[in-house]
């Protein structure tokens, strides 16, 4: 009885103490970045290397360069478990941290991005949704605070079709292409673009939705492998759906070389469970793979000195590199903004200016030692996508290797698609698009 009473009293006291959220103190001369990560939960195998990449790059900038022109990074991780509610809570708690507030938000979750776009625009904090989120946010006149560089899902679909066309001898007329997709906002993104391309290129396009979380794909692959027998299968999967799809595809005997996933279906965690049957599986990637770029020597040295934060096994993996490039993008944006506003911690509004004047050329990429990790991007007020490209990579059983150069999507039709979708959003929300002259 006494234990019961004491236990109850203690529990009551703790709960009543409330959630007086105390965030870590940030020094006056530091640029604060909140890191929304998912190191636990169903997508942890993908979230861990992403978080590691961010941590390592910001640590590298602080230690190797002494910060960006003397302004060091301060960051705090917040666990979202890939859950929208948590993501919003993390954002609200951390957005005012640091001398100038949060610099940037990269939630790495389409759901959280959708939830945060309005809030971040209101709070004037740029959202960097690199290769995920709303594709139509590439229209900077309607989405001033969202940046989708270097490439969006719709553009990725175009790249896949281009590659398939090249592999099919230059023409897709009469061929059959199937899309296996996660039945959610994320998975449905490319359908409109692929339907348009089907009309243009003359291929037959079929869609196969997979219910969340994607553990059940027998029926889907029986239909694809035994009934439709397409020439190409594209996949927009995430998490356990990817590995299950590869296994089921192998079980029905679908050739792996004709199976291509988007960049979120092309990480080590996706192919490892399938083992040998995944050999030959292809996917897109927005960043280069491996550790050949010169910047990795600095990272290795940092780890050798014991100052590295990431798990060493993750260095050079697909998602680690992606986070590295992501961190590089906003570092460059801050650098450009500092050129305009001075070498001090900047506000979100100023960093947004920096983003809109971002011009990363191949020369600059070589200068910072990231050759081969990314393609040049140039962002303007109206174009928040930046004209980046994607590369096709293939799994050989032990690692990913790029089998093409960076392929550029054909952006004219894509641009008008972005603009019309963004215009519909603006109409629904009652937003007046700003002018970008």
């Amino acid at each position: 009885m006494t234990f019961k009473r004491i236990g109850l009293a203690a529990a009551a006291a703790v709960v009543l103490a409330g959630s007086f959220a105390a965030a870590a103190p940030v020094a006056a001369q530091e640029q604060f970045v909140p890191l929304l990560v998912y190191r636990t939960g169903p997508y942890a195998p993908n979230g861990i290397p992403l978080a590691d990449g961010f941590n390592d790059y910001m640590q590298l900038i602080n230690l190797r360069d002494g910060g960006i022109n003397g302004v060091k990074y301060a960051w705090e991780e917040c666990e979202t478990q890939y859950n929208n509610d948590r993501g919003v809570e993390c954002y609200e708690r951390l957005k005012a941290n640091g001398p100038t507030g949060a610099s940037i938000i990269n939630p790495y979750s389409t759901g959280i991005t959708y939830a945060l776009i309005e809030r971040a625009t209101n709070d004037e904090i740029p959202v960097l949704s690199m290769g995920y989120g709303r594709a139509d946010a590439s229209d900077g006149t309607v989405f001033p605070y969202v940046f989708t560089l270097p490439i969006t899902y719709w553009a990725g679909a175009d790249v896949m079709v281009q590659y398939a066309k090249k592999e099919s001898g230059g023409s897709l007329a009469g061929k059959k292409i199937a899309l296996v997709y996660h039945d959610s906002a994320y998975g449905k993104e490319p359908i409109a673009t692929l339907e348009r391309l089907a009309k243009e290129e003359g291929f037959q396009f079929s869609t196969y939705p997979v219910a969340h979380p994607g553990l059940e794909q027998k029926a889907t692959w029986l239909q694809i492998g035994r009934q439709l027998r397409p020439d190409w299968v594209f996949m927009w999967g995430w998490g356990v759906m990817n590995s299950t799809a590869i296994k089921e595809a192998a079980a029905v005997g679908f050739p792996m070389e004709k199976f291509m996933g988007i960049w979120w279906s092309g990480a080590e965690a996706d192919v490892a469970p399938a083992g040998d049957s995944a050999k030959g599986y292809k996917s897109l990637n927005i960043t280069g793979v491996g550790t050949s770029a010169p910047v990795f020597q600095d990272i290795e040295k940092m780890h050798a000195d014991g100052k590295g934060i990431a798990d060493k096994a993750n260095i050079g993996t697909v998602l680690y590199n992606r986070a590295l490039v992501n961190a590089f993008f906003y570092t460059e944006a801050i650098r450009v903004a500092q050129g305009e506003f001075g070498e001090k911690p900047l506000t979100g509004e100023q960093i947004q200016w920096g983003f809109e004047h971002l011009d990363i050329t191949q020369a600059r990429i070589d200068e910072v030692g990231m050759t081969g990790l990314l393609s040049p991007v140039k962002i303007t007020c109206g174009d928040h996508e930046g004209g980046g490209s994607a590369v096709v990579q293939q799994w050989d059983g032990t690692k990913w290797t790029a089998i093409t150069d960076f392929i550029a999507p054909r952006r004219d039709a894509l641009r008008s698609a972005y603009e019309s979708s963004a215009a519909q959003y603006a109409k629904e929300k009652g937003i007046t698009p700003r002018s970008c002259s």
Partner: protein, 359 residues
């Protein structure tokens, strides 16, 4: 000593049947109301208002709805997520289709629509009982989420299937939806709305309908024998419950998150509301509020605890510990007081009546 009703005489039946017959209760409630309406919006930070009070109120409403069905009528329901999705999408279509309609009317109409859906999925309850009934509601859950996901009409054919709440004002100039809404305005609107609906619920469960629900819960064959029609009682429980849950879903989509896709109302949501109801106390309106507070606050508290205590623990360890402590706390509470937090509150009040005497 203080909490006594000596000297308080009731001179009318109406006064005798009031919800808070003891004057001290009414004073406490009035004080609480004053604090909630006047002090909190002014003193609490935007973070508190936006991420703690707003979801608490929305989930409290959903918990009240589920409590009516599971706690008062005894029909186990796991379809809460699907009904919340109904409320959200119905109100979206109404708000977009009839832009002049006041937002409160939109919510109420969406609730009525959800009530109709709830009655439809409640029909199997006339034949199936107990845990097996959970399957009918699960069918509702999965089917509804699939329906809203699959058919573009619900999301105005947006390419990604996400609905974004249009900005609407409850009084001219006071937006409660959309990004420009002031958190204090949102909080006050929700407070008044939810308090009003909870009052309606409290009166419903104390009325003849509520008693028929409780009779069905306790022993449905005996209830039928004494003349309570099970069809009417069960379906009305489903209808009222879905009404509340639908409005909660609409509020969640419009006032709290602003944009939502059908997948946000998955089975986890149903379990979350069920936990609130069970931890808070089945068959108690106050319990719904307490349970909602527990489930909304505890994860936030646990994830902030290391920072509060000054420890620096890795983020994923904190997250794992959160799961473990959450599970352990549920078990602890159930061992200590299986009837939920509302029963603890009741015991507290009883002890207070006798204070300073032990018995």
């Amino acid at each position: 000593m203080f909490y006594r009703e000596a000297g308080q005489f009731k001179t009318s039946y109406v006064a005798d049947q009031s919800i808070f017959p003891i004057r001290q209760d009414r004073i406490a409630l009035a004080l609480f109301g004053l604090v909630a309406v006047l002090a909190v919006p002014v003193l609490a930070s935007n973070y508190f208002l936006e991420t703690i009070f707003v979801p608490f109120l929305v989930f409290a409403l959903a918990a009240v709805g589920l409590n009516i069905l599971t706690g008062y009528c005894g029909q186990l329901s796991l379809g809460t997520g699907g009904f919340m999705a109904c409320g959200a999408f119905f109100s979206y279509k109404l708000a977009i289709g009839f832009p002049e309609l006041h937002i409160v009317l939109v919510f109420l109409l969406a609730g009525l629509g959800t009530a109709a859906v709830g009655v439809l999925f409640g029909l199997p309850s006339l034949r199936i009982k107990g845990f097996y009934l959970a399957v009918a509601t699960l069918a509702a859950q999965f089917f509804l989420v699939w329906m809203f996901n699959k058919f573009g009409w619900w999301t105005n054919y947006s390419p990604s299937g996400v609905i974004s709440a249009p900005p609407r004002a409850v009084l001219p100039g006071l937006n409660v939806t959309g990004a420009g809404a002031d958190p204090a305005v949102k909080y006050l609107f929700l407070l008044i709305f939810v308090a009003f609906l909870a009052l309606v619920a409290k009166n419903l469960v104390r009325s003849r309908i509520g008693r028929s629900w409780m009779a069905i819960r306790d022993m449905d064959i005996a209830a039928e024998i004494i003349g309570i029609r099970p069809l009417w009682a069960k379906l009305s429980a489903f209808a009222v419950s879905s009404f509340y849950i639908g409005i909660a879903g609409a509020l969640w989509a419009f006032v709290y998150t602003g944009s939502v896709e059908a997948l946000a109302f998955q089975i986890d949501r149903s379990f979350q509301v069920l936990f609130m109801v069970i931890i808070g106390g089945l068959g108690s309106i106050l319990g719904s509020f307490l349970g909602a507070a527990f489930i909304v606050l505890l994860p936030i508290l646990l994830s902030n605890a290391p920072a509060m205590l000054g420890l620096s623990i890795r983020v994923e360890t904190v997250s794992h510990l959160e799961f473990m402590i959450f599970g352990a706390l549920i078990i602890f509470f159930l061992i200590v007081e299986p009837h939920g937090l509302a029963r603890l509150w009741q015991i507290g009040k009883e002890k207070l009546r006798l204070w300073p005497f032990p018995y």
